[in-house]
Amino acid sequence: MIPEFLVYALLCGLGVALVAGPLGAFVVWRRLAYFGDTLAHSALLGAALGVMLEIHPLLAVAATSLVIAVALVALQTQPQLASDTLLGILSHGTLALGLVCASLVADTRIDLWGLLFGDLLTASHADLIAIYAVAAVVLLVLWIFWRPLVFATLDETLAQVEGVPTARLRLLLMALIALVVALAMKVVGVLLITALLIIPAATSRRFSRSPEIMAVGAALLGMGAVIGGLCFSYWVDTPAGPSIVLTASLLFAFSLLLPARS
């Protein structure tokens, strides 16, 4: 018999992996890995602010990530600095601010280890509902805007000429990534969120001949990593989040041994 906490952990992890797959594909296509990292680091600040202001952590993290995403878009109009420099500033600035805020809050109320590396095994019924509700919204939005999103990802200029609202789509995608970062924090923690986005998508790329196959493949591979990682974590007694990311990495390494399609 599987213990109840493990069932919740498994379902929560699967829900996040399901949505991280397709979104991760966009992160890979648009080279947003470092952007995802920045949002992930700012999630710690969000969590600390959530405790300070007594807001639900998911909401606090999502809101903080959104603000950071908008700040980044605004900063990118500065021609003097490249975006990776700006991302580096935002990323580490917010991580430092988050750590300082976390230390200011009475230490018993913040589980820093859990924030940094995830605490999937403490997932509750409420977490499960929140994760699936947000995942459903994100997947629905992706479904509706799939075609223009893929087109704008392919070539933003061409899409813009043909009347696709590329700037708004970019903002939409950033908002979706912010939401998923908030979800994934529970599963793998701040430091490993980007891994959950890009590793399954990168693995899937090797076997895909269309964007849809790559997105679905990434979701399936991510879910496989959650199952494998949790089993490993349960039997060998290792932390769940790192075990999941390790499994995803092993899947990627294994995929390199197989012949690529396309």
Binding site: V28, W29, R30, R31, R147, V150, F151, T153, L154, D155, E156, T157, L158, Q160, V161, E162, R205, S208, R209, S210, P211, I213, M214, S262
Partner: protein, 260 residues
Amino acid sequence: MSLPSDNTLIACDHVSWRRDGTQVLQDVSFTIAPGEIVTLIGPNGAGKTSLVNLVIGLAQPGSGRVWRRPKLRLGYMPQHLRFDSTLPLSVERFLRLATQDRAALNLYCERLGVSALLSKQLQSLSGGELQRVLLTRAVLRRPQLLVLDEPTQGVDVLGQADLYRQIAELRDELGCGVLMVSHDLHLVMAKTDTVICLNRHICCHGAPESVARHPEYLQLFGKQAEAIAVYTHHHDHAHDLHGDVVKPHPHHDHSNCTHP
């Protein structure tokens, strides 16, 4: 300016544009009518791509006005496709982003010789193949105005002449206007209605025959133009042309030029 007539797709009216404090385009005026092939020529840095960007709405003029026919359907063939090789996409899928009409897709793929490429991945195409796919895509939009930024990049010389011939045929068939940036002077001259010789401002403008004789054109393109003028004007008096072309410093009025 007076309101553009019904028979106008694009009207640029004294358009100027600056980038980072540098004047890229100055006081540019021209129109494009349906069925007209307008070719932009000019040296590197003359502002050809900038002017295209203004016409298709990717940039806004600093002063002056770019008028587009309301709801103008554009088919744009960019100089490059900036896609990332991490995005797996077949040629067929790429073309279906432009149209859902399978019959039209098959028809134009056949005509432009890309049928055999449909199942290939976009990133596996050669430069010339990609240009053809991009042209097909632009045509599939059933454009009223076809905008082509250096359509023959990466295409060999034989393919270039072929491509220009096809562009002229597509113009006849679709009745669309064509705005094209080109470097292939002699090939373009034969298949175009209007030539705009651009060097930050419009140096000269008109039918290929008159532009090819224009002193500023000859000054910009020098020796290269010599061969072309002969090529396109075999019907003219060789004597006259010869006199125009070989003169090292032709007498002409430079009053509207700001470049040295």
